[in-house]
C-alpha cells in the first residue's frame, strides 16, 4: 500500500511553534546568552565561557538554598500527597454535599499567592495574629520573625493550606472515575476496606497521583511569592529558597551572568527531578 505524503499539515503547527518560540525558547536563549558572557554595561558583551557556571556550582550560598529547597519540597510532598488523598477518600461521592465540599476545598486555590503570604503573615504574628497568639497562649514560644523553626512551621503550614486542595481535587476526580462494578466485585470477593484501597483505589489513582506529585514538586520547587511576603527568606536566610536566592542575585546584585547561570542550573535540576519522578512512577507500567 502506498502512503501519500502531504507535508502541508506542518503549516497548521506553525502558529503553535511560533508562540512557543516567542514565549519560551527566545527568553530561554537570552538567558543562555547571558550565562556565557560578561558585561560591564553599555550593552557590550565579552565571552566568558563556563566561568559563571563554575562559580555557581561552587557557591556555598547556592548549596545552602538548594538544600533548604530540597527539604522544603520533600516535606511538602510528604504532607500534602497523603493528606490530599486521605481527605479525598473521606469526601462524599454523591448527594447535595458534593458541591458544598468541592467549593470549600477549592477556595484556597482561588486566593492570589501574595494574598496568601499576607494572610499568613498577619495570622502568624505573635502579638496580634490568631495563630501566633494562640500558639504562644499554649505556652509554646512562637515567633516566626526570630525563630527559624517557627518560620519553617508557618511556611510549611501555609503551603499545605494553599495547595493540598490541588492534590485532593485530582485524587477525588480519580476516585469518582472508578466504575461502581469494582466496588461491587470487591464486596462480593469479601475484600476489607484496606484491600479495596490497596488493590482498587490506589492502582486506579496511579496516574492522577503521578500528575499531582509532579505538579506539587515543580510548583513547590519554584515557590517565591508566598515566602517572600511571609518571611522574606528570614530569619537570617533560614527560609531562603532557590528562587529567593536567584532574585537576590539577579536584581539585588545585578549580576546578570551568574544569575543566568543559576537560572539554567535551577531549570536543569527541576527538569532532571521531574524526569526522575516520572520514570520511577511509570516504571511498573512497562513491565
Amino acid at each position: 500500500m502506498n502512503k501519500t505524503f502531504n507535508n502541508k499539515a506542518w503549516w497548521l503547527v506553525l502558529p503553535v511553534f511560533l508562540m512557543v518560540a516567542f514565549n519560551a525558547l527566545v527568553p530561554l536563549m537570552t538567558v543562555v546568552n547571558y550565562s556565557i558572557q560578561e558585561t560591564f554595561g553599555n550593552n557590550e558583551f565579552f565571552w566568558s565561557g563556563t566561568t559563571w557556571f563554575e562559580q555557581i556550582l561552587h557557591d556555598g550560598e547556592f548549596h545552602a538554598s538548594l538544600k533548604r529547597q530540597l527539604v522544603f519540597t520533600g516535606l511538602i510532598l510528604l504532607i500534602e500527597v497523603p493528606l490530599g488523598l486521605a481527605i479525598a477518600l473521606c469526601m462524599p461521592r454523591q448527594g447535595p454535599w458534593v458541591s458544598v465540599c468541592l467549593v470549600l476545598v477549592a477556595l484556597p486555590l482561588l486566593v492570589p499567592w501574595n494574598v496568601v503570604g499576607s494572610m499568613w503573615n498577619i495570622m502568624a504574628l505573635p502579638d496580634i495574629g490568631l495563630l501566633g497568639k494562640g500558639i504562644n497562649a499554649l505556652g509554646i514560644p512562637f515567633n516566626y520573625t526570630r525563630q527559624p523553626i517557627s518560620a519553617w512551621f508557618t511556611v510549611v503550614l501555609m503551603d499545605v493550606w494553599h495547595w493540598t486542595s490541588l492534590v485532593l481535587l485530582l485524587c477525588y476526580a480519580g476516585l469518582v472515575a472508578i466504575p461502581d462494578a469494582y466496588y461491587q466485585a470487591a464486596k462480593v470477593d469479601g475484600a476489607r476496606p484496606w484491600a479495596v484501597f490497596r488493590y482498587i483505589q490506589l492502582p486506579k489513582l496511579k496516574h492522577v497521583l503521578t500528575i499531582a506529585i509532579l505538579l506539587r514538586f515543580m510548583d513547590s520547587f519554584m515557590i517565591y511569592t508566598e515566602v517572600i511576603v511571609l518571611t522574606g527568606g528570614g530569619p537570617g536566610s533560614t527560609t531562603k529558597f532557590l528562587s529567593i536566592d536567584l532574585v537576590q542575585k539577579a536584581l539585588g546584585g545585578f549580576d546578570l551572568g551568574p544569575a543566568a547561570a543559576f537560572s539554567i542550573v535551577y531549570f536543569l535540576i527541576i527538569l532532571f527531578l521531574s524526569w526522575l519522578f516520572y520514570t520511577l512512577m511509570m516504571r511498573e507500567e512497562a513491565k
Binding site: 466504575p179 462494578a181 469494582y182 461491587q184 466485585a185 464486596k187 462480593v188 470477593d189 469479601g190 475484600a191 476489607r192 484491600a195 488493590y199 482498587i200 492502582p203 486506579k204 511498573e284 513491565k287
Partner: protein, 357 residues
C-alpha cells in the same frame, strides 16, 4: 448451597416511592431451588440486574424478604450471604497477576495457601488461563479479563449461588459458545445454583433448566424452555422468545370459539376465556400451516432462513407469519391458513386466559 426464596420483594431506587411506576422491581415472590440452573431473561431495563443485586446483597430491598434456606438475609452484606457474582464488564485487579486475581476471593477468606493453589489451578485449567497465570492481569485482552472475572466467581467451592450478569457481552462470538458450554458443564459437575442474566434468548434457553422472563419490572413467566415456547403465559413471552415471535391477532370470543376476522378458530384454552378485556389469539409461526380451506390470507413475502423458510402473509389486515420446512413449492398469491388448535391460545389483556396470575 441453599434454596433461595424471595417473598413479596419490591425495590425502588427513589427514597420514598409513591406510585407503582417508582418501583424498578414490582412485587414478586419466587423460589430458586438448590442446585438449579436459572436464566433471567428480559429486555434491557426490565429489572434483571436489580433483582440480581438484591439477591447478592449489593442492594437492600425496599420491601419484602430474601431467605437463604429459611434464614432471613435481606439486610446482610454480600460477604455474609456467601455468594459469587460475575459482572457484565470485566473487573480485574490491575496490579495483581492472573493467579493473585483468582486467589483474591479465597485469600480474603483466609483459605490455606495450599488449597488456594489447587483451586486456582483447577479453575485456570478450565478457563484456559494456565499459560498466563503468572502474567500481570492488566496485560490481557478483554476476553482474557472477563475469563478472570468468571474465574473469580467460580473459584470458591462453597458459595450459595453464583450469579452471572450478562457475562459474555464483551466476549467474541466463537468463544461465547465455548464458555457457555463450560459453564453448563460446570453446573452439571458441581451442582451449584446458578442464575444467569441475559437478554439473549439463545443464551437463556441453552443454559437454563428454568427460565424466568421479566418485563417492566415484573416476572411474566417462569418455566422450562419448552413451557415458554409452547405455552407462553403472556403475549410478551410469545414475542420475546422464538424467532420470529408468536403471531398475536385480535379476536372475539363467542360461543366457545375464537373469531378471527370472521373465521372461527379453535383454541386450547377457549373454555377458560370469558371475553373480558382485550382478547387476542396467539399462535407461533411453527404451528401455522398452509391449508386448502380455513382462514383466508395473502402471501406477501417468502424469506429463506436456511433450515426453513419464513412465509409472511396478510389476513384480515394483520400480518401472520408461518414457517415452512425446506423443499417443496413456496406458496404464492391467495391461500388459506390453519392454526394448530392445541398450540393456539386466547389472551385477555395480554395474559393467557385461565393462567395463574
Amino acid at each position: 448451597m441453599a434454596e433461595i426464596r424471595l417473598e413479596n420483594l419490591r425495590h425502588s431506587y427513589s427514597a420514598n416511592p409513591q406510585s407503582d411506576e417508582d418501583y424498578a422491581l414490582k412485587r414478586l415472590s419466587i423460589t430458586w431451588q438448590d442446585g438449579g440452573a436459572y436464566a433471567l431473561l428480559g429486555p434491557s431495563g426490565c429489572g434483571k440486574t436489580t433483582l440480581l443485586n438484591l439477591i447478592s446483597g449489593l442492594l437492600t430491598p425496599t420491601e419484602g424478604k430474601i431467605l437463604f434456606d429459611g434464614r432471613d438475609v435481606s439486610h446482610s452484606s454480600p460477604e455474609a450471604r456467601n455468594i459469587a457474582q460475575v459482572f457484565q464488564f470485566p473487573v480485574i485487579y490491575d496490579t495483581m497477576t492472573v493467579f493473585d486475581n483468582l486467589a483474591f476471593p479465597l485469600r480474603n477468606r483466609g483459605v490455606p495457601e495450599a488449597e488456594i493453589e489447587s483451586r486456582v489451578g483447577e479453575i485456570a485449567g478450565m478457563l484456559e488461563l494456565t499459560k498466563t497465570l503468572h502474567k500481570r492481569a492488566s496485560g490481557l485482552t478483554a476476553d482474557g479479563k472477563q475469563k478472570i472475572s468468571l474465574g473469580r466467581g467460580l473459584v470458591r467451592p462453597d458459595v450459595n449461588v453464583i450469579m452471572f450478569d450478562e457475562p459474555l457481552t464483551v466476549i467474541d462470538p466463537h468463544l461465547k459458545w465455548q464458555l457457555r458450554s463450560k459453564l453448563k458443564e460446570l453446573h452439571l459437575r458441581t451442582g451449584r445454583t446458578m442464575i444467569y442474566v441475559t437478554h439473549d434468548q439463545t443464551e437463556a434457553l441453552t443454559f437454563a433448566d428454568q427460565v424466568v422472563v421479566m418485563n417492566l419490572g415484573e416476572v411474566v413467566q417462569a418455566g422450562t424452555p419448552v413451557e415458554l415456547f409452547e405455552r407462553p403465559q403472556h403475549t410478551f413471552v410469545g414475542h420475546f422468545i422464538g424467532s420470529p415471535g408468536m403471531n398475536v391477532l385480535p379476536c372475539e370470543v363467542r360461543g366457545g370459539k375464537a373469531i378471527f376476522g370472521g373465521t372461527p378458530v379453535d383454541a386450547a384454552n377457549i373454555a377458560a376465556a370469558n371475553s373480558r378485556g382485550r382478547t387476542e389469539l396467539g399462535v407461533r409461526p411453527e404451528f401455522v400451516s398452509i391449508a386448502s380451506s380455513g382462514i383466508p390470507a395473502e402471501v406477501i413475502r417468502v424469506s429463506d432462513a436456511g433450515r426453513y423458510r419464513i412465509v409472511e402473509t396478510r389476513s384480515h389486515g394483520h400480518t401472520v407469519k408461518l414457517l415452512l420446512k425446506e423443499g417443496g413449492e413456496a406458496p404464492r398469491g391467495s391461500t388459506f391458513l390453519s392454526f394448530d388448535p392445541s398450540h393456539t391460545q386466547v389472551y385477555e389483556d395480554g395474559w393467557m386466559a385461565g393462567a395463574r396470575r
